[in-house]
């Protein structure tokens, strides 16, 4: 089975750890437990014609306490850029982080996840604001680690992107 490293990148408390937990164990915890350092999980994703093993690196939300260590990105085949739909600032941070990631990882596939979309009333990042990202050719998906909305799907989409990307490169 092919194993692929992917990373979750985004500001702290956007729900990276929660997304992984929802995906791996289908659970959710309302309580915020900040992640320190790296947590690696593994899970298989079945695609139409093959199964991939994801090695998922949940990276500590970078802030004044922790920098994004680019060595953690090494060997990643793709990544999720995660933002919190209720915090406009997390979009800015994600864009800035993404620049750093691009410098390290060149053009691996990534998916922008707008998480916490269950909090419809508190939403502060409109779909219009994301339009530039979409126009720039990014794949964007709305998720909720709490309700599970699109979480599994996001991993499948990224898996498919990795496969397509690998095929395109071997052509």
């Amino acid at each position: 089975m092919i194993s692929k490293k992917i990373c979750l990148i985004g500001s702290f408390a956007v729900g990276k750890t929660s997304l992984v937990r929802r995906f791996v164990t289908d659970g959710f915890d309302e309580k915020y437990q900040t992640t320190i350092g790296v947590k690696i999980d593994k899970k298989e994703v079945a695609l139409a014609d093959q199964t991939l093993q994801f090695v998922i690196w949940d990276l500590e939300g970078p802030d004044e306490f922790a920098e994004l260590r680019t060595t953690y990105l090494r060997g990643a085949s793709g990544y999720f850029l995660v933002i919190d739909a209720t915090r406009p600032k997390t979009l800015e941070i994600a864009l800035s982080l993404n620049q750093k990631v691009r410098e390290t990882l060149n053009s691996v596939p990534f998916l922008l996840l707008i998480n916490k979309t269950d909090l419809e009333a508190e939403r502060r990042i409109s779909r219009e604001e994301l339009q530039p990202c979409i126009e720039a050719g990014w794949s964007v998906m709305e998720t909720s680690a709490k309700t599970g909305r699109n979480v599994e799907h996001a991993f499948e989409v990224l898996a498919q992107m990795l496969v397509d990307h690998a095929e395109a490169r071997s052509l």
Partner: protein
């Protein structure tokens, strides 16, 4: 010798003793994938990893994290960058094991006695404390982020609501009552920055004496000055009637420093001039310090991915420091798209962002990689280039302008946009970032005033106008006494036969420090106080005296005097005019009063009565700027005027612009039907003149013939003026 001692003392036995009780897993590297434990391995280690053979571990295979770290570790063992003893390479923290048994670990690569060692440490014992600290700090940051977000939304809503009330002409007292107990500080000023409404929060937070309403050095003025450090364009933005919001550090009267979040919303009257400023402010000192550490992540503009204002500020400051020590020259280009708002409003946000993106990329291509390109927000960009040769400054400016020429295609439609650019040079135009930015911004604004799609270099005279707008009122008072006003006269050329000279008197203010200040700037200021009446009186008297001085030479000079709406509404206006005629001896038919449409907006009946009286006295009345405002052709016939002055915005577009052609033709036709003459303003080309003549326009005025001239330059050319219309 010493080597053998080390060799001995670093035997496994020694390590075992040292490691006993330290809870560290220590390995020696055998080959790239094999590690041999030194001493006894802790229990937790054995629960995560198992040996492959003979007490050897393949750590890379067992842990994805270590696999990654060992790549760096190999390089380190190969040639440790820091050869001092005790140096090591740390992996950073990771957590190993499932959810319930997870432990925070950290690995270190080190070299001792020429052996490559790997230590894995369990951080559990003091990890929880550390985690708690982080957790608390992040929760705090989250809370503050949320507060800031809510606050800015609240401020915006309040400001919009108050603006609506001011526009609805609600009395300021009523408004003051409704905001009295508001938690946000509310300040409403008149156009001069004088305090009109100040609620309790404003007084409390910023220690303003509530009784000092209308005080000279107003709170707004102080804020503008303080904010200028970080936002050099702020004065220009608000005094030209645009909305502003931001955060800056403010020093209260008590000397105490605070961060304030401020929104300034200028309220525009029907003429488009600022009537009030509505300011909402909050003390965000706490929030600000809380968020400080995050700033480095907010360096990129989300739309264009260029450095944002914040990071630009840092970069330009650095660059200036460097340029100062290395005696380099820099050019700062402030680029503002023309009519971007129109595009954004009509095509929508997406298309707007798309355009911004496209132009951002093009702008970035105009300079070297080492130069700075930033998106300051909205439709504003900044470029800082190092100047190696003087000629380069203009080359880059031209390149920037040219980069806007190719159209941008959206939904298979081509869009064309231009930009206005202002340039300020270091060190010539400013020695620090704030001054340079301010000057580049003003130069940009000047480029806009001159018709956009061009580049202007900063000149001190450009700056003078805006910078002290709020102080100008004081100077205005003195200007009359000190004789700083002058009248210039611009000939109006008759396109038929004429036996007299027609001149429009135009006021000029020669400010002792700021040079010439345009009436477009100071008349609105004067109108907000009684000063307009003093100025008006001076103009009237001076113009009448000027025209009358040629009577003795048998030359008839008709002089037109501009009268502002508030002058015209004064009860004693007729008396003033009569007095001026009497004092100068000028026959009434040689005086013409020019009023604007806005004079009729209020008290229309009184104004109409007054004008009718003037006409009965023999004085001519012209309606200025016709077509620029609300005027409709239908009500024209009820106005007691002799002449219509066709606004230059139409004239400028002649003869190519179809709509302007149509308007011009119908205005002339209608005016003639109503027995009025038409005077076209702003005639600059022979094509415009030909078209106007063809349509039967009576008089033309503009640079094509003459600019406004000082009084003493006219008498020698009186003959030319009278013949100019028939010669061409």
């Amino acid at each position: 010798m010493s080597g053998s001692i080390a060799e001995d003392s670093l035997s496994d036995g020694f390590f075992s003793d040292v490691l006993e009780g330290l809870d560290i897993a220590l390995f020696e590297r055998i080959c790239s994938s094999r590690f041999r434990p030194i001493g006894r391995l802790p229990l937790w280690f054995k629960s995560f990893y198992s040996p492959v053979e003979h007490q050897q571990y393949d750590l890379a295979m067992q842990s994805a994290f270590l696999e990654n770290f060992l790549i760096d570790a190999e390089a380190y063992w190969e040639s440790p960058s820091d050869k001092r003893s005790g140096s090591r390479l740390a992996s950073g923290v990771w957590s190993e094991g499932g959810e319930t048994v997870a432990r925070p670990l950290e690995a270190f690569a080190l070299v001792a006695a020429r052996r490559s060692l790997l230590a894995i440490v369990d951080l559990s014992s003091n990890f929880e404390d550390q985690r708690q600290v982080y957790q608390r700090a992040r929760e705090l940051a989250l809370g503050q982020e949320k507060l800031a977000l809510e606050l800015s939304q609240k401020q915006r809503e309040l400001q919009a609501a108050l603006e609506q009330r001011v526009l609805n002409q609600e009395s300021l007292e009523v408004i003051a009552n409704t905001v009295a107990g508001n938690a946000s500080a509310v300040l409403i000023c008149d156009a001069m920055g004088r305090m009109q409404v100040a609620n309790k929060a404003l007084v409390d937070i910023f220690h303003i004496e509530s009784g000092a309403s209308g005080q000279r050095r107003s709170v707004l003025e102080r804020w503008l000055q303080e904010a200028e450090g970080a936002y050099p364009e702020i004065k220009r933005v608000v005094t030209s009637g645009s909305y502003w919001e931001g955060e800056f550090e403010s020093q209260g009267i008590t000397g105490e420093k605070k961060w304030i979040r401020l929104n300034i919303g200028p309220v525009l009257d029907s003429e488009g001039t600022v009537s009030h400023y509505i300011c909402i402010a909050n003390d965000v000192t706490d929030v600000h310090y809380g968020n400080h550490g995050q700033e480095r992540f907010e360096d990129v503009d989300p739309v264009t991915q260029l450095p944002n204002r914040h990071s630009f500020w840092r970069k330009i400051t650095q660059l200036i420091e460097q340029a100062t020590t290395q005696h380099q020259q820099l050019a700062l280009y402030y680029v503002d798209l023309d009519h971007f708002k129109r595009v954004n409003d009509s095509l929508g946000h997406h298309a707007g962002d798309f355009l911004l993106n496209t132009f951002a990329a093009r702008i970035a291509h105009c300079v070297k990689r080492t130069d700075i390109v930033a998106h300051l927000g909205g439709d504003e960009f900044a470029v800082v280039a190092q100047v190696k040769q003087l000629g380069n400054i203009e080359t880059i400016a031209q390149r920037l302008l040219d980069s806007f020429i190719p159209p941008v295609t959206i939904d298979s439609t081509d869009f064309r946009l231009s930009a206005s650019i202002g340039v300020a040079l270091f060190p010539a135009d400013g020695l620090d970032a704030t001054t340079l930015m301010k000057h580049a911004d003003l130069a940009m604004f000047h480029a806009k005033e001159l018709g956009r799609n061009q580049c202007q270099f900063f000149k001190p005279a450009i700056g003078a106008r805006f910078l002290n707008r709020l102080n100008l009122e004081n100077d205005l008072e003195a200007a009359i006494q000190r004789g700083q006003f002058e009248l210039y006269y611009q000939p109006q050329i008759c396109l038929a036969e004429e036996t007299f000279v027609r001149l429009e008197a135009l006021i000029r203010w020669r400010h002792p420090e700021q040079g010439f200040i345009s009436p477009a700037i100071f008349i609105p200021l004067a109108e907000e106080s009684e000063l307009i009446h003093k100025i008006g009186l001076w103009v009237l008297n001076t113009a009448c005296a000027y025209a009358q001085q040629f009577a003795g030479q048998g030359i008839k000079v008709v002089v037109a005097v501009n009268v502002s709406a508030c002058q015209a509404r004064r009860k004693d206006f007729i008396d003033i005019v009569e007095q001026a005629l009497q004092d100068s001896g000028l026959p009434p038919e040689q005086l013409e009063i020019e009023i604007t449409e806005t004079s009729f907006l209020e008290q229309m009946d009184e104004v109409v009565t007054m004008l009718s009286k003037l006409r009965r006295m023999g004085i001519n009345v012209s309606l200025d700027d016709f077509g620029s405002g609300f005027s409709s052709l239908t009500y024209l016939k009820s106005l007691p005027v002799d002449n219509l002055k066709l606004d230059q915005t139409f004239v400028r577009e002649l003869p190519d612009h179809e709509e302007s052609r149509a308007i011009t033709a119908s205005v002339i036709r209608l005016a003639h039907d109503l027995k009025m003459n038409v005077i076209a303003e702003g005639v600059e080309t022979v094509e415009q003149l030909d078209y106007l003549r063809q349509q039967g326009c009576d008089y033309v005025q503009g640079y094509y013939f003459y600019r406004p001239l000082p009084g003493d330059e006219l008498p020698p050319i009186f003959d030319q003026i009278m013949e100019a219309g028939s010669i061409v």
